[in-house]
Symmetry: C3
Subunit: 320 residues, 3 copies
C-alpha cells in the first residue's frame, strides 16, 4: 500500500476486517516489519486521539516515531507557489516536503480544510503535494476531505457490535457552535457505502455531502424516520459542503437544537448503539445521558483507532 486516503486503498474490506481482528489479538506480533523504520507524523492541526493512537500503533510495530507540530517548534510553511516569501512563512512546502521525507520511511499527515475555498480544500491541495513530492508512502491522519483511519475504526467497531447480518446504520447531522470540516462524514459515508450495511443519511436541507463520498445514497430529511429501526446512530456535525450552493461552503446553515441526539431520539431506534468520532461537544451534539449510556460506543471506537492505524501502517511497511 502506497497511500491511504480512501476505502478503495484497503482493497477487499472483509480481508481488511479479518486483518484488524488478527492485529487486535496480536498487537506486538509484527515488530520485525518496523525495525529501523521511522514514521514521521506531521500535524498542521491539533490532535489527541490521532496523535496518541497512531504513535501507539507504530510503536506496537517496533518503529521509531517522530512527531512534528508544524506550528509549534518548526518554521511556518508557505504552501502556495510563485510567491515572494517576505512574510511570516520561512520555508516553502516544496523544499520542506522532500527534506522531511528524507528522514523517514513513511508519512502520516493531518491538514484540515480551511473552509474558505471549496475548490482548494476538495482538491486536497496540501496533501497531494506530499504525495507528489515526498517519494514516500503517505497516509491521512485527517485531511481537508477525508479521515479514513476514523472510518476504518468505526467499521471495525460496527463489525464487533452488530447483532444482525446487515445492520441499519444512520449518519445524523447534529448542531455545533463552530463551522467544522466534512472529513469525518465524508469518509464515514464512503466506508458505509462500501460495507455490508443498510446506510441512511439524515441532515437539514443544504448539508448534502459531496457525491464523491456519499454516492447516490438517498438522504432522509426527516430525522425521526431515519432513526426508525436503526442499529447504529452515528452523530456528527459538519458545515455546509457547498454541493448545492457553492457560496454556502463552510457555513453554518442550521443550529436547531431539535437535531441534538437525546434519549427521545434514541427511543425511535432499534435500541441502537450511539457512535461519535470524538471530540464531542456535550449538550450540542448529544446529551450527557445518551453518551454515558451503556449503548454508547464512543470509547471502543476510539480504542479501535490504534487497530485501524496498525493495520494501515503494517500494510505500508509490507509494501516498502
Amino acid at each position: 500500500m502506497k497511500t491511504f486516503f480512501n476505502v478503495s486503498d484497503l482493497g477487499n474490506l472483509t480481508q481488511a476486517l479479518a486483518e484488524a481482528r488478527e492485529v487486535k489479538n496480536n498487537r506486538f506480533g509484527f515488530q520485525p516489519l518496523g525495525k529501523n523504520k521511522t514514521l514521521l507524523m506531521i500535524f498542521f492541526n491539533n490532535s489527541l486521539r490521532t496523535r496518541l493512537s497512531t504513535q501507539k500503533a507504530a510503536m506496537n510495530l517496533g518503529m521509531n516515531v517522530i512527531v512534528l507540530d508544524v506550528n509549534a517548534g518548526a518554521w511556518k510553511l508557505e504552501t502556495e507557489r510563485g510567491v515572494i516569501m517576505d512574510g511570516d512563512n520561512s520555508e516553502h512546502l516544496l523544499e520542506a516536503i522532500p527534506v522531511m521525507a528524507s528522514y523517514c520511511d513513511l508519512i502520516g499527515i493531518r491538514s484540515f480544510a480551511g473552509l474558505v475555498e471549496r475548490e482548494f480544500d476538495y482538491a486536497e491541495t496540501i496533501v497531494n503535494q506530499f504525495v507528489a513530492y515526498s517519494g514516500r508512502p503517505v497516509f491521512a491522519m485527517e485531511t481537508a476531505t477525508v479521515h479514513p483511519l476514523q472510518a476504518f475504526a468505526d467499521l471495525i467497531t460496527i463489525e464487533e457490535h452488530k447483532k444482525s447480518e446487515r445492520p441499519k446504520v444512520v449518519l445524523t447531522w447534529a448542531p455545533h457552535c463552530r463551522a467544522l470540516p466534512q472529513a469525518v462524514p465524508n469518509s464515514f459515508a464512503e466506508w458505509m457505502n462500501a460495507a455490508d450495511v443498510d446506510f441512511v443519511i439524515t441532515h437539514p436541507k443544504g448539508y448534502e455531502l459531496d457525491p464523491k463520498f456519499a454516492g447516490n445514497i438517498k438522504v432522509e430529511y426527516d430525522q425521526r424516520k431515519a432513526f426508525e429501526g436503526a442499529d447504529f446512530i452515528y452523530a456528527k456535525n459538519w458545515s455546509c459542503p457547498g454541493v448545492t450552493r457553492p457560496a454556502d461552503y463552510g457555513k453554518i446553515l442550521c443550529n436547531d437544537p431539535a437535531w441534538t441526539v437525546d434519549q427521545e431520539h434514541m427511543s425511535w431506534t432499534n435500541n441502537a448503539y450511539f457512535m461519535h468520532c470524538l471530540p464531542v461537544r456535550r449538550g450540542l451534539i448529544v446529551t450527557d445521558d445518551v453518551i454515558e449510556s451503556p449503548q454508547s460506543l464512543v470509547i471502543p471506537e476510539a480504542a479501535n483507532r490504534e487497530i485501524s492505524a496498525e493495520v494501515v501502517i503494517k500494510r505500508i511497511l509490507e509494501g516498502l
Copy 2:
C-alpha cells in the same frame, strides 16, 4: 502499586529506599518489565525536571513513552460536568480520559492547583477523575496538592547525605513574587513525618499547612530557632493554604526578605545541607552564594528524580 500520590502508597519506606539504591546501581537492569508497555505523560502545566526525569526513568525500563502537552497540540479539555460545551473547550475529560487510557498501560499526570477554590484543589478534582475513569494505574507528576516523586527523591537524597542516624530536617518557607501551590511542601511534610528524621517546619503566621499532610508537627515561627542544629534546610515558597482563614487561600501573605535563606541563615545550622526542589528564584528564595555552595544539594536532588520515578514506575509495572 495502582496509584502513587501519598507516602503510604509506597508501603515500607526502608524497603523503598533499599529498592532506590538497587535501581540507582542498575538502571537498565529491569527492561523486560517495560517491554511493549507504554507510559503516557499528560501535562496540563509546564515541566522541566519531571518531563525529562520521568521520561528517562521509563526509557531505562525499556518502555515506550508518549508525551502529551494538553495545551499545545491537543484539544482544550472541559473538566466540569453538566456544561453545554459551546466555548473554547472542544472535548470533555470524561471522554478524553478513557480514550487516552486506551492507548497506554499507565498514566503520569501533572495538573497544578488553580489556587482559586480551595475545595476544588484539595479534593484533587481533576486527578481523581483520571483515577476513576481511566482504568489504568495513575501516578502524580505534581497535582493540586501533592508532588510525591519530588518528596521521594528528597528522601533518597537525605538518606545519601545524612551524617547521623536521625538528622534534623527543617522545611522553611521563603518569599517569592508569585502565588505558588502547596504541593511540594505538603508532600515533603508528609514524607518527613513518615521518615526517621527530626522534622521541623518554620514559616510566617498564616502559612500553616493542611494537617492532612503536616500531621501534628509543631510549627516553629521563629526561623532562627528552627534553623539551630539543623542538618538539612529545605527551602520552599508556598501561598496561603487557607487552613486557618479559608478566604486567604492562594494569597501571598508575606514577602519579608528576612526569610530569604542566605549565609547568615545557614550559619545558625549544624553546617546544614541546602535543599530546594527547583526551579528556584535566586535572590528571593535563596542567595547565589548559598545555592552555589558545596553544601547545596539541589543538583543531586534533581538527579534523584530519575531514581524515584524509576522505582515508582517499576512497581506499577510489577503490579500490572
Copy 3:
C-alpha cells in the same frame, strides 16, 4: 570527541569524510554504541531539519532521544548571573544545565544569536555555559556563531558531486527581509577554508565575516567575477557581522535584488550546482527556476544532515 562546534573538532577531514561514507552505507550498523544512551536535544529556537535529522541520526544509532523545546512546555530560563529573579524567568540556567545533563549522556543545543550585542553573541555566552556546567559532551545544533552540522553536511554534499579534484566554491550573500545570524556563513567559510577547494566569498561591502571563521580569504565584491568558473554556488543571507563597524552589528545594510541568484547569475558559472542550507525564502535568495533546476542540491544537502549528525554523535558515543 567531547564537543562539536568547529571544523577542528573533527580532526582529519579526509578521515571524517570517509567515515561519513561508511555511515551512509550502513546507518543502522552501530547500534550497540547507542544502547541505553540518551541524547537530549535542547531547542531555544525553531527547527525543522535539525530537529528531524538529529533525532533520526540518534535513533539510527539505537539511542533514546528526548526533545526539549525550552519555550514550549518548559520553564523560561534566566541566562544572566546576579539577577533577582522576580520576572518571567522561573529558573536559572546555572541550575537547569546540570539538572538537564543529569538525565542524559550527551546534549545537542540550538541557541541563536540575539543580534543585539555582538560581544555576547560572539562569546557564545549561552552555549559555553552548557559546556562549562553540564559535565556532558555538547554539540552545536546551530549556536550564535556556528552551525557545524550544516557545514559538515555541505562538505559531504560537495564531495559527492564535485567533478574536479579542487572545485571552485563560492559563498554568495543574497537579500532577505529579516536580519539573520551569521552562523551558517561562518561555519561554511571555516569548513571551506579547511577543505581542499578553491574558496571565494562575495557580498556587498560591510558584510565581511569575522576573520575567526573567514580567515584571510579575499572577498570578491563583484558578484559576477566571483561566480565566473564556479562549480558550486552556496547562497545565504546574513546580517552585518559588525567586523568593520561594530555599531552595525545585526543590521540589514543592503536589500539590492541584483544579488538574488537567478538563471542569469548561474549562466556566469561553470554550470555550477546551487546550494542553500534551507529554509530559503524564494524570490529573495533565489528564484523558483534555479532552486527547482536539476543543478539544485538543496535536498541532497538536507538529506546529508542525517549523515553529518550520525558521524558526530557516533564519535561522541565512542568517546564516552
